[in-house]
Symmetry: C2
Subunit: 325 residues, 2 copies
């Protein structure tokens, strides 16, 4: 990256101190910087990076309507009661309703507003591939540097994009509810292999026992989890029931990670994926910037649409013109 | 891409003819070639590309358990009855249960097995970013070249990855069911802006009227849809109810696309996204191949994990070593 303009460099210098002190406004502005990919974001993150690596990141995923947000609120309250600072990142796929915070998040923010120990931000980065996962990773570094003990990363849906997001976490909770449509269907969605802890929320619903049995059976089929047997915890988040047990399970998993001799390779894999992601984004920007302008890229796309050239040859042409072939 | 070995070139030559003739075995082998990114896949797709652009691609998305597969089966049966050939691509995020076809797909395949006019394939490409969307696009080109009149692209979940997949379609159906958990939550998941037609499946369930009212209200908030007002169709796929109306709506949307003067820019935007995606994948492969080997990439990731270098500088180093900076 080229050197940032002087005023941005100053801003970055001021911010680093403010962010390390956990100043909420500085944090908020930094998140916006990252989301909008403004110049200076990379400088800021570089400066903060040496101060990261202490936070414990918990990813929470599951279908819409399983009560993830309520559960995250319960967890945040319990962590705060145990005197841990908390960052919450609510990751939302692009939607016309999320230019920033959606209604539910505003309500949540109000609830935690007077608590300096909790920082909540909803993110909805759109428009570039893999961007949501990368931006979430950057914001999670930011909160880490700001001294948050626990970072809760909550996704709205359960798709591949969300799975990429929660793979950035140290511990992944998969939230399910009994009787949510066709059970086998929900289990198909790639969640079984990413969950460290499975939460059966709304467990006062009919069919909870049967659902837990099904879940146990399915988990039995999932191959090795690096020495950890995925736990199942029942909760009723709206009544704050089961949160203590869930926190205990999270602590147990955290302990497992500490003792796990695989820890190093796990960390390495984490950064491997991160580097690859960043590399792809960077290099595509470069190819377009150095190679052909936007207008010519449009022309090439039109030519493909008209079947004048095939897309594979078109990409080879862009690469050649950027000197990358 | 470097010239393929002689035997692959021969294979490709044979295949093109077989695929253009719609030979199911040739199609199947070509899908595997694409999924595994084997050498020859690009040559094959280049050769087929001039024969594409005729199929109508319908994307079907929605939460697990909304009955998408059943609905897709109904659509396929109706299209076949109208003498149209059909390709079905079931897109599945990576899951331990999808090394190939999952149980449900096997059952579906058996049901359509005797019909040469229907080709079904489930895809679960894992491990590389954006890969599922790209592979799905490639397979959809393949089926297009094979003369399928209609290509149904069905996703398992509703996340960002799935949204990328259905954006490859000409027409997108969003499948919802009444009373699926918190309704506002489901509407949050970024589906409202991508749907051309909204299907309320399982519409014999309690609360269907209320749900349709909510949906109408929400759709009213969604900004312009290029002159098309998203339609709502009620179905009960298990009883094949509402399929005729759904097909009629799809036909109406298809007509809208034909007359739409925006057609050209829509096509161009489609290929713009495709080119960008392909470019990212290509160029990252190149950076790693030319720049540093796998072992050194691992070492760099370990250094980042140990906070010896920040990830942004690490990527800059890779780019520099590949001569891409």
């Amino acid at each position: 990256m080229s050197a940032p303009p002087e005023n941005i460099a100053n801003r970055v210098g001021d911010w680093v101190a403010q962010i390390l002190a956990g100043h909420p406004l500085a944090l908020s502005r930094a998140v916006t910087l990252i989301e909008n990919r403004e110049p200076g974001a990379e400088e800021l993150l570089k400066a903060l990076f040496p101060h990261t690596g202490r936070a414990f990141r918990i990813g929470i995923t599951g279908s819409p309507g399983t009560g993830k947000s309520t559960l995250v609120d319960c967890l945040a309250t319990h962590f705060r009661a145990a005197d841990k600072t908390v960052g919450i990142i609510a990751v939302d796929p692009s939607s016309p309703f999320t230019g920033g915070a959606i209604l539910g998040d505003r309500i949540r923010m109000l609830r935690h507003a007077e608590d300096q120990g909790t920082f909540i931000r909803s993110m909805a980065t759109r428009g570039y591939l893999g961007g949501l996962a990368q931006a979430t990773g950057d914001v999670s570094l930011l909160l880490d540097a700001a001294g948050k003990d626990v970072i809760l990363i909550e996704t709205v849906g359960v798709g591949q994009g969300e799975i990429e997001v929660v793979r950035l976490a140290d511990c992944t909770l998969v939230v399910l509810t009994p009787g949510m449509g066709d059970d086998v269907q929900s289990l198909k969605a790639g969640l079984m292999e990413i969950g460290d802890i499975f939460v059966i929320n709304k467990s006062d619903r009919e069919g909870a026992d049967q659902f837990e049995q099904q879940l146990l059976a399915v988990l039995g089929l999932v191959s090795d989890h690096e020495g950890w047997t995925p736990a199942i915890v029942r909760t009723i988040a709206t009544q704050d029931q089961g949160t203590d047990e869930l926190i205990a399970q999270i602590a147990q998993f955290q302990e497992h990670l500490q003792t796990d001799r695989e820890r190093c390779s796990r960390e390495r894999d984490y950064w491997r994926e991160w580097l690859l992601r960043l590399l792809q984004a960077r290099v595509a920007e470069k190819a377009l910037g150095k190679g052909i302008g936007e207008a010519e890229f449009d022309r090439l796309a039109s030519d493909v649409a008209a079947r004048k050239i095939d897309p594979y040859s078109a990409v080879n042409e862009i690469l050649a013109r950027a000197g990358l072939s």
